[in-house]
Amino acid sequence: MSEASEGSGQSALHRRRRRTSPRVRWIDRTAAIAITGGGIGVIVAVLGILVYLVSVVAPLFAPARVTREAAYTLPGEASAALLFARIDEYRVLGLRGTADGEVIGFDARTGAALGSLRLFPEGRTLTAFSRRDPAGEIALGFSDGSVILARAAFDTEFVATPPAGEAAPPPVLLGVTQTLPGGETRRVIADVAWDEPVMIGAPGVHIARLDQRTTDAATRLAVLKGDGSLLVNSVTRRRNLMTGKTESRLEASVVPLPEAILTKGAPEILLITSVADQLYLAWHDGHVARFDLRDPGAPVLAEQVDLTSGDVRLLGLEFMPGEQSLIATDAAGGVRVWFRVRRDDAGTDGFGLVPAHILAAEAPPVMAVAPSLRDKSLLTCSEDGSVALHHMTSEEILVTARVEPASPIRDCQITPKNDGLFAVGADGKATVWSLQNPHPETSLASLFGKVWYEGYAKESFTWQSSSGTDDFEPKLSLVPLIVGTLKATLYSMLFAVPIALLGAVYTSEFLDRRFRAPIKSVVELMASLPSVVLGFIAALVLAPIIENWVLAVLSVFAVVPLVALTAGYAWQILPPRAGRILGGRLQFAALLVLTAGAVLAAPRLAGPAERLLFAGDFKAWLDGRVGTGTPGTGIILWPIFALALLIADRRWLAPMLQRRAPRSSRTTAAVTECLKFLALMAASLLLAWLVALVATTMGLDPRSLFFGTYVQRNALVVGFVMGFAVIPIIYTIADDALSAVPASLRSASLGCGATRWQTATRVVLPLAMSGIFSALMVGLGRAVGETMIVLMAAGNTPLMDMNIFNGLRTLSANIAVELPEAVKNGSLYRVLFLAALMLFILTFIVNTLAEIVRQRFRKRAYQL
């Protein structure tokens, strides 16, 4: 850097300028910026997966929001008794019906009157009224015993906007026209129509109560007349294609009321289902009588139940869409939901009403109830001017609002697209709110707790995300999936861990050095198999074989270890020179042959075992049809007792024998060992059998827990094949951990006179424990996240039991099956993202734990 020597003449040596060229410096800086930026970007992107998943899941738990849009006084006389007030799905047009027969249309944004129609001429006295959403069908009952069927609903039509300059289409009476962006005009029109009056029952007797439901097939009308007669009518409308006229046909049937009911007086509420199979009569004291009308010629009083206790007055009874649940409101402010479920001790038809949900329990009393048309939400409006939006399944109150000024609310509505609320008070003031409530059915309780779903006899954990009808209640509980994941992981680890750990111990301690490299390559091969291939083999090749030969397969698991141990003991009896032939290279080959032989010979035991233990038919035993639970419990207990006895032998029996006879010859000792082993195995078997007998007499049966009905694609197949996927992972990491124990320690131990086995178990294994633990954790992480094998081989049934012969559905397989068909940003979509998030966090935690343990272990191993 001596640039002073330049310029003043050149020395003979020509000193070079020692400075980095600007180009190099520039490249260096650019590279640094690019690599830093790129590197940080990649890391952020990879970690950003978590952020993105959380952002998709968060709206599931966000509360609903309402904003008041408009409040105005409804046109028409405030004093007229309000029958109904409804607005359309776009919240622009409203209809108000009063008891004098007038239907007034108004602009729902401002309250301006648009016109009015009459459903029936003045002079008739209305005595009963019923209106049903979404079709807006109305039934009016009069004092002379006649009934008018009418309709007050909304219709929407889209017309192309005429280009500028042409005349706009003429305005429509009782309609609202809007121009939409994109060049279309939308007209919402009131669809009000009415039929001629029809006499029902005896003329002159007024109609006390009525209810109607309309389906595509017919309109069902239930009428209770003032003289106590109850008639169920079916009105079918047929359009004669020739004449263009609509013909209606009325078929009536009488429901005879038993004495006990007639003496109670007139019921306040009458409800009929849309297929006319159930009819409910309710009185203000809470008494409800349910009639079974499935046989139209022979109606039966199926059940009588009290919906309220004590003196509490029943105010209202309403169906939820789907007609499976009844909402009962009482004067104490309670809102309860009753389900009609299958019960042996209740109604004559095998069903009974049971109280399932309590949505509200205290004052103020609820004046009206409006169910949502799209999901299981429910709007209740109270005497003090408050409205509350509940959700039936999760029992949550999603949002509340008040009318200003407070006045008792006469009628309320959730607009059809679930995006608005409408309430009309006793003072004639109407309020419109807009509602954002995208995920009403999910909450922490409904995702992870027991929920009582419609049609179920009690609370349960269920996953059933969709069905054919619109009234379906989505059952999104993650618990069956979590249990399925745990079950698959448990059975696969149960199978994989012994094989992998034993193999790792053998490879690092006893295997001939020359075989290490090929064996490692073979195991890496196992690791690189795509899980699709494993799943295919499991489902199409193994599952049918195992289904036909279950016991043969299970016997392999029992026979192979026993054969290995017995062969080992027998081997010891041979003189050392013979034994040395099979040390070294030949040992592994001999082991391969032994294993193959044991696997092929084990199925021969299956037949006798089946006859002896399972009364000749294993599948029937699994179903619980034959035999007791003793063989099952015995089979589970036997390995535990065998292990316990072997350990006890090691600690107490062997030293005792050693002390007694320290100088016996090699052969004698080997024979003693062999016989001792066989005796221990027999003893453990006997012990297991005895304990199993005791357990059976105590009433424990493994068939309700670990064994059960056999299904072709089950956890046994999945566990076995996931072993293929998990064994190489555990094996490699455990092998690394065992090999990393310094050779000096091994040599020291061998030098002290220990055998290879003693070195392995007492020196190497304890030191490698943390490495082995980390291997298990990584294997566990892999087993939890495995998708394709489970998807193909596990039957995909979200069950919640630990039966090994039964199917399961895991979180990952569930995502793969359901996500392609989930509506973007719907509840199911977000719940599936929640499942993915749970998997992500779980495997992340498990792997981090394993990594920390492994790094600490490495540090310690280096220190040795």
């Binding site: 190099v24 198999l529 795509p530 036909n548 141990l565 082991l591 062997a654 793969a816 599936l832």
Partner: protein, 577 residues
């Protein structure tokens, strides 16, 4: 013996100390794992390679007099149920009982699905009275309805027979007509797919231009009207070409329809060109035909090779249970290449940053652990992220900005090869980062320090000293990542793989690389044919061969990685997945 000279106590290890049986037990663990993998590979390889070998056709006469003709697919032992045992004669029943209640049955592929309603049939061994291998039985692979198994009687052109079985030239004439018909069919395909396709493409572009003008400038604006009139003129001009090509294709089709082959099954029923019709099978509907019992070894090998070539180079038919897997091979290959192109620069950049540029400390260690753990996150989580972020969010935005005229039909806003490759790249980036980091760490510090001492800048050191030495390790990591990515199916199921893709993502029409198209994948093909086809028994051979192909591909990649790795000298080996 005096007490002073007691014989010395022999200090020998008790025999239980050797733990020999338990050593054997651990050995069983390893041999079980080895046997598992070896038997799986043997199963796949044997089933996969032998699938295409032409099997002989057996004609079985059953005890009740019926005859069945077909290929024996497999044999299995089973336990006959009580109803079946009752229907048997006493001596047969005794024979089964002697064997422990176990009998054998054959799965026979009878073909002719359109005639019998099923292409497989179980025949119990004990129900067979006699069997033979008729020389005149042929196996005819068809375009639809699976194979036909029967006896060809004659070949006709129009109404005249041009060969029949009595005069011995049937096989030659059949083969000649079949290849002629196949050539015509190929020509029809080129005309329709290529020429007509190009015309339709231009017409579609014209229509989209009209829509785009309407969206951008408004309905009825001068630009819109001009675009509309241009589209009309284009339609007019191309309409004639369209017509001409269609006529050509119709002519070729008519020629194909003329040549027919009369094939009857065992009972003399005619195998027709369509279920419910009376016409015999057309030669153009035949893909391959051979007399299964009259072939010599060379001829069999010829059929075997021909089937393999078809498998590797042609499109699938019969809902993926027959034909070839070329689109799946192409899709897998293209996706793997795109994934590697995406993963290599980013993975190496991130690893360079972590190892060379970032200040080492607890933060960087935490980041390293986090990145390492991401390799263990289930692949389905990446698929979920890919669907939500890439397909819907990014893809939807791209659609709105660049392709508004095609909405509401999504272009990039749904699964496609681009998003699938990016998702898999995200999946495998941790593997590449870890492998690259290890390779960079293995370059000794002395080299770096020497380079700095010579006056090199950091980038020069990295570029000229460190990276070249780390390249084998980086390559290993890349190959391992590619092998892992090629085998993952779960994330692909969600982000763009389909059962049958009408077009390849890369073809001869501008812009040549169509990144928004869905594609086929070998792994998904296995899942689809095995589980979503009409008859999984019919599809099983195809699944075995596809499995063989996929395993072969992945094995080759892994062997390359292992070979690379054994060339390195390393002190510490740690494997990451």
């Amino acid at each position: 013996m005096s007490p002073a000279t007691k014989p010395p106590v022999r200090r020998s290890t008790p025999i239980s100390g050797r733990g020999e049986p338990f050593v054997w037990l651990t050995g069983i663990g390893l041999s079980a794992a080895t046997l598992m993998i070896v038997s799986l590979l043997v199963l796949v390889i044997s089933n996969g390679t032998l699938t295409f070998w032409p099997a002989p056709l057996h004609e079985l006469t059953l005890r009740d007099g019926t005859r069945v003709l077909g290929e024996v697919r497999r044999t299995e032992s089973y336990r006959p149920g009580p109803e079946e045992l009752e229907a048997l004669s006493a001596d047969v029943r005794r024979g089964i009982e002697d064997a422990g209640g176990v009998a054998t049955r054959l799965l026979l592929r009878t073909g002719n699905y359109d005639l019998y309603g099923d292409d497989f049939r179980w025949v119990s061994e004990h129900a067979i009275a006699s069997r033979r291998e008729p020389a005149e039985a042929w196996l005819i692979e068809r375009l639809e309805w699976g194979p036909a198994i029967g006896i060809p009687r004659e070949i006709r052109r129009g109404a005249h027979p041009i060969a029949d079985s009595a005069h011995g030239k049937l096989a030659e004439v059949f083969e000649r007509e079949r290849s002629a018909a196949a050539a015509r069919s190929r020509r029809i395909q080129v005309l329709e797919k290529h020429d007509l396709g190009r015309i339709n493409d231009r017409l579609e572009k014209g229509r989209l231009a009209v829509r785009r003008a309407a969206i951008q400038n408004g309905e009825g604006s001068p630009e819109h009207q001009e675009a509309a009139s241009r589209a009309d003129r284009l339609e007019h001009r191309l309409g004639e070409d369209h017509h001409r090509i269609q006529e050509q294709a119709a002519l070729l089709r008519a020629q194909n329809d003329e040549v027919q082959v009369v094939i009857e099954d065992l009972d003399g029923r005619l195998i027709t060109s369509r279920p419910g019709s009376e016409d015999p099978l057309r030669v153009s509907q035949v893909v391959r035909a051979y007399p299964a019992n009259a072939l010599g070894w060379a001829a069999r090998f010829g059929v075997f090779l021909d089937r393999w070539v078809e498998f590797l180079t042609s499109e699938p038919r019969e809902a993926n249970t027959e034909g070839g897997v070329f689109p799946a091979i192409f899709g897998t290959f293209m996706m793997t290449v795109m994934m590697s192109l995406a993963v290599a620069p980013f993975g190496i950049m991130a690893a360079l940053y972590l190892r060379e540029y970032a200040r080492q400390g607890p933060v960087v260690s935490a980041v390293r652990i986090a990145v390492n753990n991401l390799a263990g996150v289930p692949s389905i989580v990446y698929g979920v992220f890919g669907l939500g972020f890439f397909c819907y969010a990014l893809g939807g935005t791209i659609d709105e900005i660049f392709f508004p005229e095609r909405l509401p039909s999504p272009t990039f806003g749904t699964g496609g090869i681009l998003w699938a490759s990016l998702t898999l790249a995200l999946l495998t980036v941790p593997v590449v980062i870890v492998a690259t980091e290890e390779a960079l760490a293995a370059v000794p510090r002395s080299m770096r320090e020497g380079s700095y001492a010579c006056g090199a800048s950091r980038w020069q050191t990295i570029w000229r000293i460190v990276l070249p030495r780390a390249t084998p390790g980086i390559m290993t990591g890349l190959i391992l990542a590619m092998a892992r990515g090629a085998g993952e199916v779960a994330p692909l199921m969600i982000t763009g793989v389909v059962k049958l893709a009408p077009e390849l993502p890369f073809d001869t029409q501008f812009p040549f690389l169509h990144l928004e198209r869905s594609f086929m994948h070998l792994g998904f093909h296995i899942y689809d044919v095995g589980f979503q086809s009409r008859n999984s028994e019919a599809g099983k051979p195809m699944v075995y061969t596809t499995t063989l192909l996929l395993i072969g591909l992945i094995l080759m990649m892994n062997l390359a990685a292992i070979a690379l790795r054994t060339r390195l000298k390393r002190r510490f080996r740690s494997d990451h997945f």
